[in-house]
């Protein structure tokens, strides 16, 4: 109990004093996860739409694989990206290992299947309703993609949020490719892991509370905006 109450006290203290270290860590966490989600969205939306709309051999297999990839273990992704980016790896010359860019790449790989798989489902359902009308108007699946993504926009926001939740909560991938270097690649989840291993459970939990609060705030803001827009556009 003392640990938990101490954790809340620590969390509140961190927030009230606007601890410079905390601000830096939170800032980097947001920067990495938002960039990764943006990248995953740019890749995942068209990928999901294509999988929903175009018939090609192996589509079923690809869909199953994509759905399975939603559960990719972050440590494994981190390890693969580590091997690719390490000095002796194929992309070693880029010198990206232990940089925020490497963390963005790893998280984007984790998040893309989530956004693509959810997009595929949403667009496939919408296409059932739209197909005949769109084809009558002269739009085959390819020309219909922008309109379908636009009309699915409210549901897709939820898909992107799910991706963001995944990115901001994972620790395994960023730990391996980032290295948890203070002032360089330390983010909230790796900082929590570090404090746990150091035995400062109150600080670790305090950071955890800040992370959850942040996630809550982002979701609440998006939810409210989405509710308003949806009521106006149904």
């Amino acid at each position: 109990m003392t640990d938990i109450s101490a954790a809340f006290a620590t969390a509140i203290q961190l927030l009230i004093t606007l601890d410079a270290n905390l601000i830096e860590i939170v800032g980097l966490s947001l920067q990495v996860s938002i960039s990764a989600v943006a990248l995953a969205t740019v890749i995942g939306l068209p990928m999901g739409a294509a999988l929903a709309l175009f018939k090609f051999p192996g589509r079923g297999t690809l869909t199953v694989m994509l759905n399975a990839l939603m559960g990719l273990p972050p440590v494994v992704v981190g390890l693969v990206v580590y091997l690719l980016l390490s000095r002796s790896g194929p992309l070693g010359v880029l010198g990206l290992l232990f940089t925020p860019t490497a963390m963005i790449i790893a998280q984007a790989i984790l998040v893309t299947p989530i956004i693509a798989a959810l997009t595929r489902q949403v667009v496939a359902d919408l296409w059932v309703e739209y197909a005949e009308q769109m084809r009558s108007l002269g739009a085959g699946p390819l020309r219909a993609v922008p309109a379908l993504l636009y009309d699915a926009r409210f549901t897709l926001v939820t898909a992107v949020l799910a991706g963001f939740g995944r990115a901001s909560a994972e620790v395994g991938a960023v730990m391996i490719v980032g290295g948890n270097i203070d002032h360089v690649t330390r983010v909230m989840t790796t900082a929590i892991a570090l404090e746990v291993s150091k035995g400062d459970l109150a600080l670790a939990l305090g950071l955890g509370i800040v992370l959850i609060g942040l996630s809550l705030a982002i979701n609440a803001a998006t939810f409210t905006a989405k509710q308003r827009a949806e009521a106006a556009w149904t």
Partner: protein
Amino acid sequence: MDLTAPNAAPSAHRASAANTILPLRVEGLAYDANGQRLIDGITFTLDAGPRTVILGPNGAGKSLLLRLCHGLIAPSGGTVTWQGATGNADAATHQAMVFQRPVLLRRSVIANVVYGLKLKGTLRAERAEIAADVLARTGLARFKDTPARLLSGGEQQKLALARTWALRPQVLFLDEPTSNLDPAATHAVESICQHMHDEGTRLIMTTHDLGQAKRLADDVLFIHKGRLLEHSPANAFFETPASGEAAAFLRGDLRW
């Protein structure tokens, strides 16, 4: 609604005189689903001009026949030929269809019309003007910026018609366009259809509403169990149907 133009305008002839994808020749058309023959050996020709109503009980295959003619589904046998068209693309761009349940995009009323024009390849500069014009003609001008999905059922169907009217199709298929609408909205939809007909659009419509068929039909295709039983001028069909099934359907006691 400004739908008071005289019906006497001989614009139906305009369509037949200009380049047209008609006549529509349907030959030996068949369609199977799940091992069942749903459309069976239908043959007919539709020339430019009159309004055709496809009549028949529920499940007769009316909607399927429209979809086959419009090219939305591929036939299992037989052919659909637009004898005046220079090619498939030419035939496709000059047809439009209004569905029983309108599918409107989740954007504003005018944006729905503009989207149709965009797909047709209308110049960007002309789209807004054409869209505003058809919205005014269909009485939807005041809803211009309203999200389309918030319109009432009748207004949604009027918008679906406005969207096709903007495309000035040579042939318009209508699949029971008023089956979900109240009498006032039904009347509005029928007036819009009439005006498109007056402007030279060839109407091909399904309905199971006999009153509507009598109001709108110049000739009738009567379908029963996937077969074409009659193709005759409307007056003749309603006064002296040739088949027993059609007579029973008109009496309202078709057994099947």
